[in-house]
């Protein structure tokens, strides 16, 4: 169990960050600023060249334009260099100091627990002895009790001192983090009134999406000004109501689309636009960030979030990208059609790993932090709706890390993993998942799914080698074909959420985990509607898959099969 500080409620967790890397980047920004400054001086010199001919006049004009324009990039590079270095310095002096105290606090906490137990025992012994013991024994027992109480008080004092230091360092880091964000925001966008700037600073400094929501709702007169000045921030800030985010992000997407972007970004924009114009009902673009990560990140909400009694969040896995969000939209619509009061979000909010990155946890860690914030935002804005997270492949690794990051499961009621690449093996995460009040977990693995098995067995150091289907507390459900009444349900033919997905290995016949008509998808619908899967594992209509051969690869460090 994670300890929290007594006065400020800070969690006793290591604050992530690499000040050496930050300083290197700060230096890189400074070098860019310097070379741009030299370039500006040189280009400016060209405006002094003699001559009155048309060509030289044109060249001088162009040189003046370039020299003037360079000022903006120089200022931005200097700003980034300064902000990052100041944050790096603050991180070194505060966050790293807080991190260094963690072991001491845990030891002091254990020492206090032990000393308290000893003091209680000595006190009881003194009380018992006072009733029936000899005077000498009574004195000795009293002395021992006093010594034990003194030791306990000293241990409590030591712990309190350490907590005080920790809170001081943590608070200094918190302030530096907020200052860095505010400085970056202040260096971009049009000028705002001081009231609007103050609101933006407070929004950026808010520690939780709940605090963001409260601040936003408390200042309706400033909302439009802040949103117009910083649509990229407000459109993605968890805690801001989704109708606001949807309107802002649609305008941002339209503006970007008007520039005819090419390459992967062009594909992403086209896919999002196609979804946004597919209706009615039209989905809401509740997150959209083409630059924050290596991939474009986005989230589309299908159905009416405001009136929904159940909100589902779909999380994609390895090699997913926004360009493929259309088929996830199909799943979302099909899920919503399963019953009344359903809304579903396709959350593409992280850099999904490729095959080389998949064995590691880096993508999951970044993704989990983003998903955690998103889920907390969802819970803040729509607290009464039940929430289900349906995660595929490495998305389930990421989602498990997020949902298991707190004992309360972030307000998630149902966590459904399909074709999981394995849950994180972190004992704290697993403990949170298994003990969270109100959280029910479900998992399925198709007997045809190759990549999920490979993913579990090739994670570095077994970092995500935990098999969800056999994890205590998880309800396993079928995905190998079955029947719903008279309706035949297809098996899932490989690893794909929507298509085969085993490539370059062969896939079987059937439908992906999240395709209407598959046993997997039927069970997901039933879980959301009733809390239980709709079919029996290996029931009528179930097929044997290639990867279920019992003797398959027994040398693997983790048994990737159902037991």
């Amino acid at each position: 169990m994670t300890l929290t500080s007594p006065n400020r409620g800070y969690p006793l967790e290591r604050l992530e960050g690499n000040p050496g890397s930050m300083s290197w980047w700060s230096g890189a920004f400074s070098r860019v600023a310097g070379s741009l400054g030299d370039l500006r001086t040189t280009v400016q010199s060209a405006t002094d060249l003699d001559g009155v001919g048309a060509s030289i006049r044109s060249a001088r004009s162009k040189a003046q334009e370039v020299a003037s324009g360079l000022a903006a990039e120089i200022a931005e590079a200097e700003l980034l260099a300064g902000v990052l270095q100041r944050y790096a310095d603050a991180f070194s002096s505060s966050a790293e100091a807080a991190n260094r105290l963690i072991d001491d606090i845990e030891s002091a906490h254990a020492a206090l627990s032990s000393a308290s137990a000893t003091a209680n025992e000595a006190g009881l012994n003194a009380l018992w002895t006072s009733r029936s013991g000899e005077p000498a024994d009574v004195r000795r027992a009293n002395d021992e009790a006093q010594d034990a109480v003194a030791a306990r008080d000293a241990a409590a004092s030591d712990l309190a001192d350490l907590w005080e230091q920790f809170e001081s360092h943590y608070s200094a880091w918190d302030t530096a983090y907020d200052a860095a964000l505010a400085e970056l925001a202040g260096g971009a966008g049009p000028a705002m009134t001081s009231q609007a700037q103050n609101l933006l600073d407070q929004l950026l400094a808010a520690d939780t999406p709940q605090a963001v929501l409260e601040l936003w709702l408390a200042h309706p007169e400033l909302q439009d000004e802040v949103a117009r000045a910083h649509p990229d921030i407000i459109g993605n800030l968890d805690g801001i109501p989704y109708d606001v985010r949807g309107r802002i992000n649609r305008e941002r997407l339209e503006a970007l689309r008007a520039t005819n972007p090419g390459g992967a970004l062009g594909d992403d924009v086209a896919a999002l636009w196609e979804e946004l114009t597919d209706g009615p009902p039209f989905p809401l673009l509740i997150s959209f960030d083409p630059d924050g990560s290596a991939q474009t990140t986005a989230a589309l909400a299908y159905g009416d979030l405001a009136s929904a009694t159940d909100i589902n969040v779909l999380v994609p896995g390895m090699n997913s990208s926004v360009a493929g969000i259309g088929e996830w939209g199909d799943s979302a619509r099909a899920l919503n059609n399963a019953g009344p009061g359903l809304a579903t979000i396709a959350w593409f909010g992280y850099d999904s790993p490729n095959e080389i990155e998949e064995p590691g946890m880096d993508r999951a860690r970044d993704g989990a932090a983003a998903l955690r914030s998103f889920l907390l935002g969802l819970d803040a804005v729509h607290p009464t709706a039940e929430k289900a997270v349906i995660a595929h492949s490495y998305g389930s690794t990421t989602a498990a890390l997020a949902i298991g990051s707190r004992p309360d499961a972030l307000g998630v009621d149902q966590f459904i993993a399909v074709g999981s690449a394995g849950f994180p093996s972190d004992p704290q995460v697993l403990s949170n998942l298994q003990n969270a009040d109100g959280l029910r977990m479900y998992a399925t693995l198709s007997e045809n799914d190759a990549w999920a098995r490979i993913g579990r067995d090739t994670s570095w150091g077994g970092a995500h080698g935990t098999v969800p289907e056999t994890l205590p507390g998880v309800t396993e459900f079928g995905s190998d074909g079955g029947y719903a009444g008279d309706q035949h349900l297809a098996p899932t033919p490989g690893h794909g959420a929507h298509e085969g997905g085993n490539g370059p290995l062969p896939s079987g016949d059937g439908e992906g985990y999240l395709v209407q008509g598959s046993e997997s998808f039927y069970n997901i619908q039933q879980i959301i509607l009733t809390g239980e899967p709709g079919t029996e594992i290996d029931g009528e209509g179930s097929e044997r898959g290639f990867w279920d051969l019992p003797d398959w690869l027994r040398w693997l460090p983790v048994d990737p099969y159902r037991t």
Binding site: W25, V32, D50, E73, G292, A370
Partner: protein, 97 residues
């Protein structure tokens, strides 16, 4: 050295200087690509990491555009100098007999 020769050297020197500075800026700009500035996700917070990535991506793109424009200035000057026979016209604005 004639005025035209002096002018020729002024143009080529300016063009060379610009291209040298452009090369330096492009080299330095190549360093600011990627998505790991060391900020990470302290206390599960992602805002600063993402904002820093957005800004460095934007700066990288802007510098690319600006250095391309600067390089075009150098190319314009080089093109003028290359038309050596026209330098009198460029310098004086008058056709020579």
């Amino acid at each position: 050295m004639s005025d035209v020769e002096i002018y020729y050297h002024a143009l080529t020197s300016a063009a060379d200087a610009i291209q040298t500075r452009v090369s330096s800026a492009v080299m330095d700009n190549a360093d600011i690509q990627g998505d790991d500035t060391g900020v990470e996700n302290p206390a599960h917070r992602v805002a600063l990491r993402l904002e820093m990535n957005r800004r460095l991506s934007g700066l990288n793109r802007a510098v690319l555009e600006r250095t391309t424009a600067a390089s075009e200035v150098g190319a314009l000057l080089t093109a003028i100098a290359t038309r050596y026979s026209d330098l009198d016209v460029e310098l004086t604005g008058q056709e020579q007999p």
